[in-house]
Symmetry: C2
Subunit: 342 residues, 2 copies
């Protein structure tokens, strides 16, 4: 393993200058800078991270800790999460440590230990619930962390989120303008901040449109295709009270809804208008639906970029950058929504 000393001996320079040359300091001659870089490349030098960590106090490690029950239908997005984060951190020079716990294990002790050891520069929190205890824990240890979504309604922590209230408002407004009066929504599971935000947006938008809110027409549950199918079937059970507009939390739910509606001989958009929020996952494209699906769109993958960027900024002590980012979603009207039949 080549060290700075090796390079310094090889070039007749001091270790100091070699270090400064490689780290791009301004007080080293451009010529020697190049010489050093060439020598480093030639000797295959790569900095020893432990040594660097020791003196800088930063380990260069960030981590994601999760319970390992990732074998469900959300597989694909989980893989995108993990690989997306890894990729982003890698490009920013951080090592991404993945801690997958055995299924069903409470992750909190693992978080506590990781935080106490001080071995990690930062944490990424995903799948956060409202008032998530992990937020309190990491705050106590005063270690940087960034949250996907928001853990509270008015959080003090760094986060990246989409404007979930606005998302649903766009759907309702679009459908109300088309003339719909009987709405239904397939929301995510209760307890997650995004579900609550969407619920708030739903109620507010209905009120704004002068429509009554019907609690029975909102079903909370996992955002999967099977659940979308089952829940849709339940929503349309009672012929008398059938909604004419169905808003789905994501495209998987919408996919299930399509199947269920088809099975019930209801056509889209003639009998029912369907719209959804589209996270732009690779394995299910909203534009490939038939009829093509009206959506609000915010690429899931944007999150990783922002989350990584924010966390790195926090670690590097940049104060002037915003640590709370709310992204807006684009509304795309397609063929799955139309005016209701009279």
């Amino acid at each position: 393993m080549t060290t700075l000393k090796d390079i310094s001996k090889h070039l007749g320079l001091s270790v100091t200058q070699v270090s400064r040359a490689l780290n791009g300091y301004s007080d080293v001659n451009e010529k020697t800078k190049k010489r050093v870089q060439d020598a480093a490349a030639e000797l295959g030098y790569s900095a020893n991270l432990s040594a660097r960590s020791l003196v800088t106090g930063k380990s260069g490690l960030v981590t994601l800790i999760r319970a390992g029950d990732l074998t469900g239908p959300a597989d694909a997005s989980n893989l995108e999460t993990i690989s997306g984060l890894s990729k982003e951190f890698y490009q920013r020079g951080k090592q991404f440590v993945l801690h997958m716990l055995p299924p069903g294990v409470d992750p909190l002790p693992a978080y506590r230990q990781a935080a106490a050891s001080g071995s990690f520069d930062g944490f990424v929190l995903i799948d956060t619930r409202q008032n998530d205890e992990r937020v309190a824990l990491l705050s106590k240890y005063d270690v940087p962390f960034v949250v996907h979504g928001r853990a509270e309604v008015d959080p003090s922590h760094a986060f990246f989120d989409i404007d979930n209230m606005a998302v649903i408002k766009q759907h309702v407004a679009h459908l109300a303008k088309l003339g719909h009066k009987r709405f239904a929504m397939l929301n995510g599971p209760t307890g997650f901040a995004y579900s609550e935000y969407r619920m708030m947006g739903y109620r507010a938008a209905l009120e704004e449109a002068g429509l009554a809110f019907n609690a029975a027409a909102v079903i909370h549950g996992p955002m999967t295709e099977p659940h979308g199918m089952i829940a849709t079937a339940r929503l349309f059970e009672d012929h008398a009270k059938r909604p004419t507009a169905l808003i789905c939390g994501n495209v998987h739910l919408a996919k299930g809804a399509y199947t269920a509606l088809d099975a019930m001989n209801l056509s889209i958009p003639e009998d029912v208008s369907v719209s959804a929020h589209d996270d732009v996952l690779h394995n299910l494209r909203a534009s490939a639906f038939y009829p093509s699906l009206t959506v609000t769109r915010s690429a899931f993958s944007d999150s990783w970029v922002k989350l990584a960027e924010t966390l790195c900024d926090m670690i590097d002590g940049k104060q002037d950058v915003p640590h709370q980012v709310v992204e807006n979603s684009e509304f795309i009207a397609r063929a799955s929504t139309a005016a209701p039949k009279l």
Copy 2:
């Protein structure tokens, strides 16, 4: 962050003794050992991993480096790979660092840099090709690594693999015994060691059964359901030369084969016997096929346990444990194979 020095001052001991006490050395009095441990707990001490790494030369980090084009149909197994490895290493006290490269990027430079930096105690290699350059690279740097599958026909590196020759031999033997004479096989992509091993097993088993090998009846390609469908359709195009037995590289291929055969009005097992190798992935269960699928079975998840175990043994310098493990697969005859029609 409390350090050894803090504890030593607090107790009036030397840093040396505190270190040795915490690491359970025998040359420290039991009484002081307890005193030190209590003080450590009281002060919330947790060893600085960077400092330890620097002197021991072991970082406690193991890594998996991959090109990030994981958005294809193999998603689920990739997630199982990653989460499985992470879990196993975590339980063995190693930090699992995931390096996901942007899609299409040559991973070799990343491997070189990671190996040269000496920051990692070990590497896990998956999706290895025959004579994989990564094996040569890591061998050169003399850093421990373990391979899923084998990168050469008679490798010198540590690996965990299933006996792919025997796998196919079991299929052929079973089907030949039932009376089949016209075989076909959907194999994995060329260039991968397991595909080659399976090919060897296929040829050897046919010869053993006194049957001729027909090159046109073997199709190499991605082990996905769509490819299984397309390849099967092609194999059964020519009515005159239709095989009566089809061996599939995995259950996804088999799934595609089922669909294609159904579309061609060929029934299983009356017209065609189908069997496959089953990696026991969570998202597609062989026993849930209709008719239920005859398989050789080796749980993919066993690999992570063995790979992690082996790599940790190598890192800790255990010489007496076997570093090359070939697992046998269980053969399970089910309803998808039967004697051919006369």
